[in-house]
């Protein structure tokens, strides 16, 4: 069974879920608001391994032993309003978040993306971090400057000092488990995109790239929650191929 975990309004995740079902792949769609209202949690860890069994408010039981692949696009918790209103809510929300990271970690591979302590769906990075990794992966990068001296009112994207040639052609791609989907790229850019995902230690990564007239590939931005529809059917077929075939439901 594929498990699709996401924010409630995540159209990309819904698209993947529908695509899996159309391919007769067993799948469960669990948005954050449903998961946070689970009626029973049973998460165990010992020297032999880890497991999780969750009974959802609609009666569905998600057991890690039955999961053969996970699309994890959890952004954060989605607790009920009375939870937030409690005087203990700060502590309780920290506890829930800690539990989510752990239970996502114990799901069997493939998990796109695995949680980290810096993000439920992969490590959230500062822009300078992405620029360093992108340069290491082989992309040309714009320069970036930030200062603590006074609020310049800039969004982080605006701090990029754009040196990307204006005539460059823009591309949106999704790297998924070692393959690149979306707009066509040169072989060199494709290899750099895969390398960047590897350096960032994520299996799923959206990239906004540009190709200059001289063929140079520029990195513009990375996204742990890309619009997966960019990847088209090829992406869905690739996801299905990552897991052993199960009897259709």
């Amino acid at each position: 069974m594929w498990l699709v975990l996401c924010d409630d309004l995540d159209a990309s995740a819904r698209w993947v879920y529908d695509g899996l079902r159309q391919r007769s792949v067993p799948a469960e769609f669990v948005p954050a608001s449903v998961l946070s209202r689970a009626v029973r949690w049973d998460h165990r860890i010992d020297s032999e391994g880890a497991s999780v069994d969750v009974i959802l408010p609609d009666g569905r039981c998600i057991t890690s032993a039955a999961v053969h692949g996970t699309l994890n696009r959890m952004v954060g918790l989605c607790p009920a309003p009375d939870y937030i209103a409690s005087p203990d809510s700060d502590y309780a929300l920290q506890e829930l978040l800690a539990m989510y990271v752990s239970l996502l970690q114990c799901l069997p591979a493939p998990v796109l993306n695995r949680p980290t302590s810096q993000g439920l769906s992969g490590r959230v990075r500062y822009t300078p971090d992405w620029l360093i990794l992108a340069a290491r992966a082989g992309f040309a990068t714009a320069s970036y400057a930030v200062s603590s001296k006074g609020d310049d009112g800039c969004r982080d994207d605006d701090r990029l000092q754009i040196t990307i040639p204006a005539a460059a052609k823009r591309h949106n791609v999704v790297v998924a488990a070692g393959r690149v989907f979306g707009d066509p790229l040169s072989a060199r850019a494709t290899a750099a995109a895969c390398r960047l995902a590897m350096l960032a230690e994520v299996d799923l990564l959206g990239l906004r790239l540009a190709t200059a007239c001289d063929g140079g590939a520029w990195f513009e931005a990375a996204d742990l929650y890309p619009d997966l529809r960019t990847g088209g059917r090829g992406l869905l077929d690739h996801l299905v191929g990552l897991t052993p075939q199960e009897p259709p439901t």
């Binding site: 949690w41 860890i45 800690a98 539990m99 114990c106 200062s147």
Partner: protein, 334 residues
């Protein structure tokens, strides 16, 4: 040059500073309490990071720092900041400095002990337990649930269990006694972590690069940090009784698997390679008072330089090892 970040009077930072100065090393202290007089500029170009740190009017090129010891407290709780209005310029400035500093620290080519990403697993103890298991240690049997029936079954099977926070919010580890067991219905509201109580002596281990420094801990309390308050007798810490020099792999060797490990203050797989310095016993923060609301909900301790919002160590008088970095000196300086 080494950059020390935190509160200079905090014992571990003070010890590191003293060690560097004793060794005639150069260091710059970024005192969080002076946040209003600190600025940082970062520039990233062609895969290189450069910039400038300004501390009380003194300017330092970021590229000149070849080492960073990081012991920052949550800037929201700095005495100079916590009383500020949410939209005050002082608070906004503090945030900008810390954001920029942390962004630089993650990518600085210097030796950083430890980068925030490497310390992040403290934020989820069960997640960390999975990483620890992956590195070859045994870990205590753990149950996280909001179902009292599962806890009773777990208790029956294990005989004796403790409960503790899952997150980085420090809590006092307690044995699930009859009184707490009678209130188990309270966990329906929020899942709680329970662990098998492991008999034996606590051993706290700090690894620094390829060296491990062990401290055995004798205490009658399940949580040695609060032994005096709980039992009237303070825990006895015996440091450096089994200092060893070994490769990092030694921690993952078969004999290590006989040692249950309940937590680490830095994920072992991300351990920085640095030269050895000295063992630093756990810093007790017993002067602060937790305010338990229910036996299973233990709010954060008051944050102060002596009780920073980072997890401590012991959770039971048990045979265990923990490893992490509390102090560091650098090659060429010591």
């Amino acid at each position: 040059m080494i950059l020390l970040c935190g509160i200079p009077s905090e014992p571990p930072l003070a010890m590191v500073r003293r060690s560097i100065e004793d060794a005639d090393g150069d260091c710059v202290v970024l005192n969080q309490r002076d946040i209003a007089d600190i600025d940082i500029d970062i520039r990233v170009a062609a895969g290189r990071v450069t910039g400038e740190l300004i501390v009380r009017g003194q300017r330092y090129r970021l590229e000149r720092f070849d080492g960073v010891y990081l012991r920052l407290m949550d800037d929201r709780f700095l005495p100079e900041i916590r009383c500020q209005a949410p939209d005050s310029p002082a608070r906004a400035h503090s945030r900008r400095v810390h954001e920029a500093l942390l962004a630089w620290i993650e990518i600085a080519p210097a030796k950083v002990v430890n980068r925030p990403a490497a310390m992040g697993s403290n934020g989820s103890k069960p997640y960390q337990a999975q990483l620890i298991r992956h590195n070859g240690f045994n870990i205590p049997e753990t149950l996280i649930t909001n179902d009292p029936a599962l806890v009773r079954e777990f208790l029956n099977r294990c005989g004796r269990i403790v409960y503790k926070s899952m997150s980085g919010v420090r809590s006092i580890v307690r044995v699930l006694d009859d009184q707490a067991a009678a209130q188990l219905d309270a966990i329906r509201w929020c899942p709680v972590q329970f662990q098998r109580y492991v008999e034996g002596m606590d051993v706290r281990v700090h690894t620094v690069g390829t060296e491990a420094f062990a401290t055995s801990i004798s205490s009658d309390a399940p949580d040695y940090r609060y032994a005096e308050r709980e039992t009237g007798r303070a825990a006895t810490l015996n440091p450096s009784t089994c200092r060893t020099t070994s490769s990092p792999g030694a921690l993952r060797s078969p004999p290590a698997s006989a040692w249950p490990c309940r937590e680490s203050t830095c994920a072992a797989h991300q351990a920085a390679t640095t030269s050895a310095s000295r063992s630093i016993p756990a810093q007790s923060s017993a002067s602060t008072k937790p305010r338990p609301v229910s036996p299973f909900l233990q709010p954060s301790l008051t944050t102060s330089p002596a009780a920073k919002p980072r997890e401590g160590t012991a959770d039971g008088r048990a045979a265990s090892t923990r490893w992490g970095f509390s102090a560091i000196t650098y090659p060429g300086h010591v």
